[in-house]
Every structure is written in structure tokens, then in C-alpha cells.
């Protein structure tokens, strides 16, 4: 059941993206996106019900949850025609994350000792952080593409796209939101581990690296004015690193903190 719902959600997200790629605007764009969100949420609920527990620590659920958060990122822009390209790029990202989630099924890891509420808080904050970085990644790519068009003087049709500084400002917000929440999530997990049995595993190292990368990027922006292209490159490279870590975790270490399967 949950698999069907998640596949339908993926189709609903992919439709507006495909329509944009072929240059035919979708008639009921917003209704389809909202329908996709409902299916997505329904799919996750069905999964939890089927498992009899909120298994936020499985990679499948993790990616599907991040995908849902990224798709929810479209909600503020649905009624803004010039922001439709942002909406569609977030939907493309959500589609890919759902696709990755379907490929990562079965990989499951649970820090059994951690109380459920603590685990949910820790992992949820990490997911929100990852979603923030994913949104920042999409906005960074959009920024670089739009900047390239402006620099190359390919100005036809730009009136349908958001302003460059608007994308940059949104990118900054997404990056800050991602950084703050992932910091909080990592801190909660770290404190608990410190009090029990702390050990440096791949996830911890990867999280530290990612955290450091974004910390440098944000610091550079706030102190040195690294906005625009600098910020976009940080966003792209940062999330590419996150994606690599997630793929590596799933393929080589059996899930979060290498405790799965």
C-alpha cells in the first residue's frame, strides 16, 4: 500500500517537471502538487502503520521524509507565477529523493538504546537540516543557471523567472535553516552519545565535515560577503557531499551510524 502511494506521489511530482521540460505548462499544476503531497504523507503514514512503529531511523523512511520536507518547500511559492521554476526544481529534487528511497529499502538501523522521543527529535532535526540543504542545492543550481543567462545576455523569457537576488536570499535562508537544525540535531545526538557510549563512526565524521563545510560557507557570507556565485557553489558542493555520504551509508555501512542490518 505505502509503496503504491509513494510511487503515485513520485508521479505527481514528476508531472510538473516533465511539463516544464517539454515547454507545456500544466493546467492544474498546484492541484497536482498538493495531491502529490497528500499521497506522499499518506504513503509515510501507511509505512509506519504497516511497521507498527515510527521507524525514522531507516534510510528509506529518512529519504522519503526529507523528500516530503523538500516538497513542502514548494508551498510558499505555489501562488507566485514567477517562482514556478523554483517549485518545479524542488519537485524534481523530491522525485529523485523518493526514487533513492525506493532503492534504499530494507536498509534499517536503530539506535535501540535511545529513547523513542529522543530519537525522533534527533533524527527529525537532522532530516529538516538535510531538507534545508537540498532546497539550498536546488536554489544554488537555479542561481547559477540564471546568472549564466544574464552574463551571456540570453534575456528572452527572463520575465517568467525570479530575480537573481531573490534566489540568492532564499538560498541563504534555506542554508541557515538547514545549518541550524542539523546543528541542533547533531548536538542532541552527540549529547546522548556522550552520556552513554560515544564513538566516532562514518556518520559522525561525515556530519562533522558537512557541518564544517556549511559553517565556513555561512561564515564567509556573513563576514566576507560571499554571496551570489560563491554561496551557490557552496550549496551545490555541500549537498553533493551530503548525497555522496547518504549513498555511501546505504551501500557500504548498512544505514545510519553503521548499525543496521
Amino acid at each position: 500500500m505505502h509503496a503504491v502511494l509513494l510511487v503515485l506521489a513520485m508521479v505527481a511530482y514528476a508531472l510538473p517537471v516533465a511539463a516544464r521540460l517539454v515547454g507545456r505548462p500544466l493546467r492544474h499544476h498546484n492541484a497536482i502538487v498538493l495531491g502529490g503531497l497528500a499521497l506522499h504523507l499518506g504513503g509515510l503514514l501507511a509505512l509506519w502503520i504497516a511497521n507498527g512503529a515510527i521507524l525514522v531511523s531507516s534510510l528509506t523512511e529518512g529519504l522519503a521524509s526529507v523528500a516530503l520536507l523538500v516538497a513542502c518547500g514548494t508551498l510558499p511559492f505555489l501562488r507566485q507565477p514567477r517562482m514556478s521554476v523554483v517549485t518545479d526544481s524542488l519537485l524534481a529534487c523530491a522525485t529523485l529523493l523518493l526514487l533513492a528511497a525506493s532503492g534504499a529499502h530494507g536498509v534499517k538501523s536503530t539506535a535501540a538504546e535511545m529513547p523513542l522521543w529522543f530519537l525522533v527529535l534527533h533524527v527529525s532535526l537532522i532530516f529538516v537540516g538535510l531538507a534545508g540543504f537540498a532546497i539550498s542545492f536546488c536554489l544554488s543550481l537555479l542561481f547559477l543557471a540564471l546568472r549564466r543567462r544574464l552574463k551571456r545576455k540570453e534575456l528572452q523569457g527572463l520575465q517568467d523567472l525570479p530575480a537573481l537576488d531573490t534566489i540568492d536570499a532564499l538560498n541563504f535562508r534555506a542554508m541557515v535553516a538547514g545549518f541550524v537544525t542539523i546543528s541542533a540535531g547533531a548536538l542532541i545526538g552527540g549529547v546522548w552519545a556522550w552520556l552513554h557510549e560515544f564513538r566516532f563512526d562514518v556518520t559522525v565524521w561525515a556530519t562533522l565535515l558537512v557541518w564544517l563545510w556549511y559553517a565556513v560557507g555561512l561564515q564567509g557570507r556573513v563576514i566576507g560577503g560571499w554571496r551570489g556565485r560563491f554561496a551557490a557553489l557552496f550549496g551545490v558542493v555541500g549537498f553533493a557531499g551530503v548525497a555522496f555520504v547518504l549513498a555511501t551509508l546505504g551501500a557500504m555501512f548498512g544505514g545510519w551510524h553503521g548499525m543496521g542490518a
Binding site: 545576455k153 534575456l155 537573481l164 531573490t166 556565485r229
Partner: protein, 426 residues
């Protein structure tokens, strides 16, 4: 008659080539003067805007369009070969049609934009002041301005125009987003610069700073726009503060170089800076665009934005083209009619002058005759002149009726000679 229109425009050449032919207003009197002194044209008018450089001329009979093109390039200080393939050359009715289309804004970057009428009027006035226009160009330019008015009144061409000002606003907003509270620096007092500044203010621009070579002019402009005036020496300092720079001067040279902007970008902490260069030749170095956070646009880029409403303007433009063709035919008939009338007048005046001169030579002999005989001789000379001119005048009228008005001058010149022509003109 030979009416020629030679030029280069945004349709045929990019701005980097147009600026090679561009002529600053202060050079125009010398150019108009040289047209006659160099023996290339009897009448002439030069239109130099950011989108086009054109010469409308009635050339000397021996001068062809290629020689005129060479002269124009030479006067602009460039080699003909660099621009030759981008130059268009129109003659006679085609030239007249081109002039009408240009003045009616059908050939403009933004079809229907009204600025071109003012620019043509200024060029016409300047040519009149320097006695560079004669009977043909007077007729052509007066009619062209009337046609432009008719096109504007009878079609919707002006209503659908995306103005240069609006195109500038769109570009600024594409980079900066909202213009609320943003600051702009206007350099120069060019027409397009003022249009863009006005449009930016209408769209919420917070502050406008005006710089001009003549500080008093900057103060006047600043007062008009509710901004402040600065000296040209302070430009670099203001580059750090503002979000938009609009350059619209007739300086004919670079005012802002990459070296001026490069240190500023870091101090601006890479905040976006939109630089709109509306001048031809351009005032802002092209390579500033390579700097982080700097987005430079020129008049050709504005054209791309203006293209957006092109389809809507197409319908209005089709009606306007019909009006232009109708007016071209009517005006050409009038011009040819006048040409024929002038030719006939010259021939008859020339014949009459010869008759009177021959009678004067024989005045002593004629004085001995009685008045009746003298009258008979006078009547005989008149009749002889009439018979002599009958065939040539018939040929002139026939040529005009057959649409070969261009031959009239040739026939008259053959019969009367250029020297006599000029004497009679005087």
C-alpha cells in the same frame, strides 16, 4: 532626382560596430559642412543615435552610394571595410520609404517608441542650421514627420510599445528583485538615460544620484527627478553605494573601466550592481561583466527585453506599413512633379535668357527698325524658342509620366549644363 539613405543600425550590426560610425553632436556641424565641401552631396542630414547612424543625402550626380558610404566611414574615422558588410544603401523610393519607416518608429529597436521622432527632428534642425538641407530633403523630412504623426494617430503602434525605460527597469528587476529603497546613479543627460531613470523612479527607486560633465546640468536634472547631483570626479565613490548605474552620455569614450569597478565589488561585499550602458560609443568597459556581482547591459540587451511585446505590436505595425507605403507613393509623385516643374522652368528660363541676350547683342540694329518690325522680330524669336523647346519639354514630361523622373535632371543638365543650372538656381 537621387535620394540616398546609407547607414548602419541595430538590425544590421551589433553595438561594437555601430559605435565605430557614431558621431558626437559637437562633430556634426563639421560633417555637414564637409558633405558639400568634399563634393559628395548637394543636400545631407546625419542621424546618429544609439541604434543607428544614417546619412540621408541628395548626392552630386557623379557620386554613387559606395562613394557616399566611403565618405561616411572616413568622416567617422573608421575604415569602410570594417563596417561595409553591415551598411545598407537605399536609393530613390526605397530611400524615401526607409526614412518614413525610421521616423515612424517602424524600424526602431522598440517598434512604436516615440524618442526617434525627437532625435530625427534634432538632426533635421541641425542640418537646417548649417544649410545642409535643400528643397528635396526639406520636402522629405517635413513629410516624414507628418507621416510619423499620422501613423501614431491612426494605429495603436505607440500603445503596445515596451519603452526603453521599461526595458531598463525589467533588467534591473531581473537582477535585484524589488527596486524599493534601491539607489541609482545616472551619468549624463542622454534621452534614454532620462527615460530609464524616470521609469526606475516610477517603480519605486529610493534614491537617484546624477553626474554630468557640466555640474549645473547635473543639478538641473537632479532637481527634476528629486535626486542629488555629484561631480564626475566622485563617480567611483558612488559606485560603492548604488545598486544601478545608468550611463547615457555623448562622451564618445569609456568613462568607467574595469579598474574602476574591480576594487569596488569587494568593498560592496559582492552585492549585485546593475550597469546599464545606453551610450554609443559605450561608456562602461565591456569586461566589467566578468566581475563577480556586476551585471552590465547595453542598448542591444534592452532590445531583447523589448522584443517581448513584439507579436502584439506586429498588427499595429502592419497598418502603419500600409500608411507609409501610401505616403511614399504620394510624396514621390510630388517630388517628381516638382523636379519636372523645376526642369521645365530651367529649360524655359535658359532659352529665354539666350533669346534676350541675342536680342540685346543686336540692340543697335533693332533700334533702327520701326516698332512694328521690332515687335515682329521679338514675336518670331519667341515662336522659334517655343518650337525649339517643344521636343525637349515633351521628352521631359514623357519621362516623368513613365516614372523615369531620374532622367529629368540628366536631360536638363545635357541641354543647359551644370554651370547654367547653378546660376539659374541662384
Amino acid at each position: 532626382m537621387r535620394l540616398v539613405a546609407i547607414g548602419i543600425s541595430h538590425h544590421t550590426a551589433p553595438v561594437e560596430l555601430r559605435e565605430k560610425l557614431a558621431m558626437a553632436p559637437e562633430r556634426m556641424p563639421a560633417v555637414l559642412e564637409a558633405l558639400r565641401s568634399d563634393g559628395v552631396g548637394r543636400e545631407g542630414l546625419v542621424l546618429s543615435t544609439c541604434n543607428r547612424v544614417e546619412l540621408y543625402a541628395v548626392p552630386e550626380p557623379s557620386v554613387g552610394p559606395d562613394r557616399l558610404a566611403e565618405w561616411l566611414a572616413d568622416r567617422a574615422g573608421t575604415a569602410l571595410r570594417t563596417v561595409d558588410s553591415h551598411l545598407y544603401r537605399y536609393q530613390e523610393q526605397e530611400a524615401l520609404r526607409h526614412v518614413f519607416r525610421v521616423v515612424s518608429s517602424l524600424d526602431s529597436m522598440v517598434v512604436g517608441e516615440p524618442q526617434i521622432v525627437g532625435q530625427v527632428r534634432d538632426a533635421y534642425r541641425l542640418a537646417q542650421t548649417h544649410h545642409a538641407v535643400g528643397p528635396v530633403l526639406h520636402q522629405v523630412m517635413d513629410k516624414a514627420l507628418q507621416v510619423a504623426k499620422r501613423v501614431r494617430n491612426e494605429t495603436d503602434i505607440g500603445r503596445e510599445a515596451v519603452s526603453v525605460g521599461r526595458a531598463g527597469v525589467e533588467l534591473a528587476r531581473q537582477v535585484l528583485g524589488s527596486l524599493d529603497g534601491r539607489a541609482a546613479l545616472l551619468i549624463g543627460a542622454g534621452a534614454h538615460g532620462k527615460l530609464v531613470s524616470r521609469a526606475l523612479l516610477d517603480y519605486g527607486l529610493g534614491e537617484l544620484v546624477v553626474a554630468n560633465r557640466t555640474f549645473q546640468r547635473a543639478v538641473e536634472l537632479a532637481n527634476r527627478f528629486g535626486g542629488s547631483a555629484v561631480h564626475m570626479d566622485d563617480l567611483t565613490r558612488y559606485l560603492e553605494r548604488v545598486d544601478i548605474v545608468i550611463a547615457s552620455t555623448a562622451a564618445g569614450q569609456q568613462i568607467i573601466s574595469r579598474a574602476d569597478v574591480a576594487p569596488v565589488t569587494k568593498r560592496r561585499r559582492y552585492r549585485s550592481l546593475v550597469m546599464i550602458d545606453l551610450s554609443v560609443p559605450r561608456n562602461i568597459a565591456v569586461d566589467v561583466d566578468e566581475l563577480e556581482g556586476v551585471y552590465r547591459f547595453d542598448i542591444d540587451d534592452l532590445m531583447q527585453i523589448a522584443e517581448a511585446g513584439k507579436e502584439k505590436r506586429q498588427l499595429a505595425a502592419e497598418s502603419a506599413e500600409r500608411i507609409v507605403m501610401e505616403e511614399v507613393r504620394a510624396c514621390w509623385d510630388v517630388l517628381e512633379g516638382e523636379l519636372v516643374a523645376r526642369g521645365i522652368k530651367r529649360l524655359t528660363q535658359h532659352g529665354e535668357a539666350l533669346r534676350v541676350s541675342e536680342l540685346a547683342k543686336n540692340e543697335a540694329l533693332l533700334a533702327k527698325l520701326d516698332p512694328k518690325d521690332r515687335d515682329s522680330i521679338e514675336a518670331m524669336t519667341r515662336a522659334l524658342l517655343k518650337k525649339l523647346l517643344h521636343e525637349p519639354l515633351g521628352y521631359v514630361r514623357k519621362s516623368a509620366a513613365e516614372g523615369r523622373g531620374d532622367r529629368v535632371e540628366e536631360i536638363v543638365a545635357a541641354l543647359v549644363g551644370r554651370a547654367n543650372d547653378e546660376r539659374e538656381d541662384e
